[in-house]
Symmetry: C2
Subunit: 302 residues, 2 copies
């Protein structure tokens, strides 16, 4: 029977959970859908999942951590701001709700994914790293000198919301022509004049030799490169980790992106930033939340 932490990741339609030892061994994992239309079904699911996994593991978790969308409160024990979705999440105090004997840290989901990747994934041991997750939107997080960058309100690391075209449409945060707009899947129909309904379809057409698809893809990767060089000049990370569904494009993304960075990345002393594919996939957030819980318990980090 191993000592383990429980990491929980609340997403838009499902909850990921992982029981993991301090050495990084995964004892069990779950991915459970919840009913988004039923008030706080996600909370009850997390509560019962917590009980089930601890029963399965034959011992209580030594620490529990939670990842969720939104901005965390200064004490990192709740989500302070998450308008529009997951009603009931704002202000919910997870230590109390889960009846945990020790405090449950709450992390923003992108922050948690980066914490996972720096603990056990693509960026293990690195101290200055940024993460971009390319999916419906473009999520992001930054680690600075080994600490997650949270900022004044906990909003730091919204890396998809940088302007790349002053005349572009305003995104969900009101940023004109943002990185999220140029790369995220949500805008693909708009960006391709209605020709493609998903990045997946765009890539399939490109692979089949469609020159228009190849050009749309080129624009998307160029925008990603423009965003990355901007973030490199601001945050100066050692590595950029790229995850999310669109990162599964593999060489079509990483190969073309390398060519863009060769043209526009600032390389003092010939130094170039590492571009790495995320490794933990959909479990990154749960793993990061568990790692944070272990760190809190160990007093390694407040």
């Amino acid at each position: 029977m191993s000592t383990y932490a429980l990491g929980l990741d609340l997403g838009g339609s499902s909850i990921k959970a992982v029981a993991i030892t301090p050495a990084g061994q995964i004892l069990t994992r779950r991915n459970v859908e919840f009913d988004a239309l039923q008030t706080m079904d996600w909370a009850r699911r997390i509560d019962s999942l917590t009980g089930e996994i601890q029963a399965e593991c034959g011992a209580p978790a030594v620490a529990i951590g939670l990842s969720a969308p939104g901005l965390t409160a200064p004490d990192e024990q709740s989500i302070a701001c998450m308008p529009g979705r997951l009603a009931g999440l704002q202000g919910l105090h997870w230590t109390s709700y889960l009846r945990s004997p020790i405090p449950v840290p709450v992390l923003n989901d992108a922050h948690a994914a980066l914490a996972g990747e720096t603990w056990l994934g693509a960026a293990t041991g690195l101290r200055n790293v940024i993460l971009l997750t390319l999916g419906t939107g473009v999520g992001g997080a930054a680690m600075v000198d080994g600490r997650l960058l949270k900022g004044h309100l906990g909003r730091a690391g919204h890396l998809g919301h940088i302007c790349l075209d002053q005349n572009g449409p305003l995104d969900i945060t009101r940023t004109p022509g943002s990185l999220e707009y140029f790369v995220g899947n949500y805008s693909i129909a708009e960006r391709t004049g209605g020709r493609f309904q998903s990045t997946h379809a765009l890539l399939a057409a490109r692979d089949a030799g469609d020159p228009a698809a190849a050009e749309f893809w080129r624009q998307s990767i160029y925008a990603l490169g423009c965003g990355i060089v901007s973030l490199v000049n601001v945050l100066d990370p050692e590595a950029v980790v790229i995850g999310g569904g669109i990162a599964r494009a593999g060489e079509a993304l990483f190969g073309q992106l390398a060519g863009v960075l060769d043209r526009i990345e600032w390389r003092p002393g010939e130094h170039r930033v590492k571009v790495l594919a995320a490794r933990l996939g959909e479990m990154a957030g749960a793993i990061g939340a568990a790692g944070k819980a272990l760190a809190w318990r160990g007093g390694l980090e407040k």
Copy 2:
């Protein structure tokens, strides 16, 4: 006879120096031109200035700090990278060169200016702040949780080098259509089709009722706003401090910028970022370097 630190700021054509007490009282200040064509004239000037000020103050400084352009070495005792200008600066070990009994911290000039503004200027006591200096180019620095953001190579905080137009010309760091390009004085002739040779002339024409000048100025402030909202989404500062020659435009800048931010700033929970005018002027870097030297001496900060 007061205990004081000596702060030195090496610029492109002059050296600023300040003797300042730990309470922030300025005992004396200097601004000395150097001969840029004479090899390392700047270094000899700094050495003699250091002697003169200490003689004037009647006692040796308890700490000395230096601000200079370029990227600092990891041990923060020299500039590791400054290609193209100030030959001899790269690798010069200032503790040895100035024969200081205690280590002389070396700061990037923009980092030093922000350190000054957070110690005794516009952002006193704030822990999450960014600085933009609008002049020939656009300089920048960021403070995160009370620490200067340096990054992996010491390049962090180059806030002027974020892309705002993917199709724009490459700037000195190869960033396409950067904030520096759209706001810096160096590109004003290019941006105005040769009509204006300086931002100063542009503003004078605007004030005299020239509609083309007003439109060029509007574009410049809109670009500044797009850059600020991007940086706010990445770094989430409590305040943005704006300095440099162009900031002397006063209300023409700050008033118009406020209008832009009302349209495009992300304001979770109605929170808005503070926009503050820098207060320390050309002495910010020297004051910041002195503050850092006092912090090193006091062991407050490595």
